[in-house]
């Protein structure tokens, strides 16, 4: 089970390239949303591996916080250049 956690950590590191050098803010938001989903899956894997339901609650709250933050950020971005 733990090898999947290491593979997913590598995937998160690999997609954080776009978070660092992305040309616009939208590219960074895509990378951030992708990393959030990956970390959520890692928390679910931990929760099954150690048979502990605590991490699953953390995972659900993490997804909802990501959703609220993304919606707020894109509302702010879309309002900028429209007249």
């Amino acid at each position: 089970m733990m090898i999947f956690v290491y593979v997913l950590l590598f995937v998160a590191l690999f997609s954080s390239y776009r978070l660092v050098v992305g040309p616009t803010i939208q590219n960074r938001l895509v990378a951030l949303s992708s990393i959030t989903v990956i970390i959520m899956v890692i928390l679910a894997l931990y929760s099954i591996h150690y048979n502990n339901p605590f991490f699953l609650d953390v995972s659900i709250v993490f997804l909802l916080l990501d959703f609220i933050g993304m919606i707020a950020f894109t509302k702010y971005l879309g309002r900028e250049e429209i007249k």
Binding site: S15, Q26, V37, I48, I60, I71
Partner: protein, 117 residues
């Protein structure tokens, strides 16, 4: 029977890991914001749902699997909404798609107007 379920869940989880690796590769390689959205968000959603399905098969029927089912439903609803909101903000900011025939013909004049500014 138990060993068969265990092996099946490991197989499904490894398929999901490979799919998420492909999503990160598309996020790294594609040249445009719309192509990156097309590659990253849909494939990421599918991979995460596949991994969580494998975890349900591994844990059997318990409260853990019920919570994972809620998580699958939330991913299935919320992640495409986030993708749509990001694409809409890029469109409102006047980012043109890289492929010219991806622009709707009714909006072509509007894009030319934005490009001149």
């Amino acid at each position: 029977m138990n060993i068969i379920l265990e092996l099946l869940s490991l197989f499904i989880i490894s398929i999901g890991c490979v799919v998420m690796l492909f999503a990160a590769l598309g996020l790294y390689r594609f040249p445009d914001i719309y192509m990156r959205l097309h590659s990253s968000t849909k494939v990421n959603t599918g991979g995460a749902m596949t991994i969580l399905l494998g975890l349900i098969l591994k844990s059997g029927i318990s409260t853990l699997s019920a919570k994972i089912l809620i998580l699958i439903l939330l991913i299935f609803i919320l992640t495409p909404v986030v993708s749509h909101a990001i694409a809409r903000s890029a469109h409102l900011q006047g980012k043109t798609p890289m492929i010219p025939f991806a622009i709707h013909p009714k909006e072509k004049d509007e894009y030319d107007f934005l490009r001149e500014k």
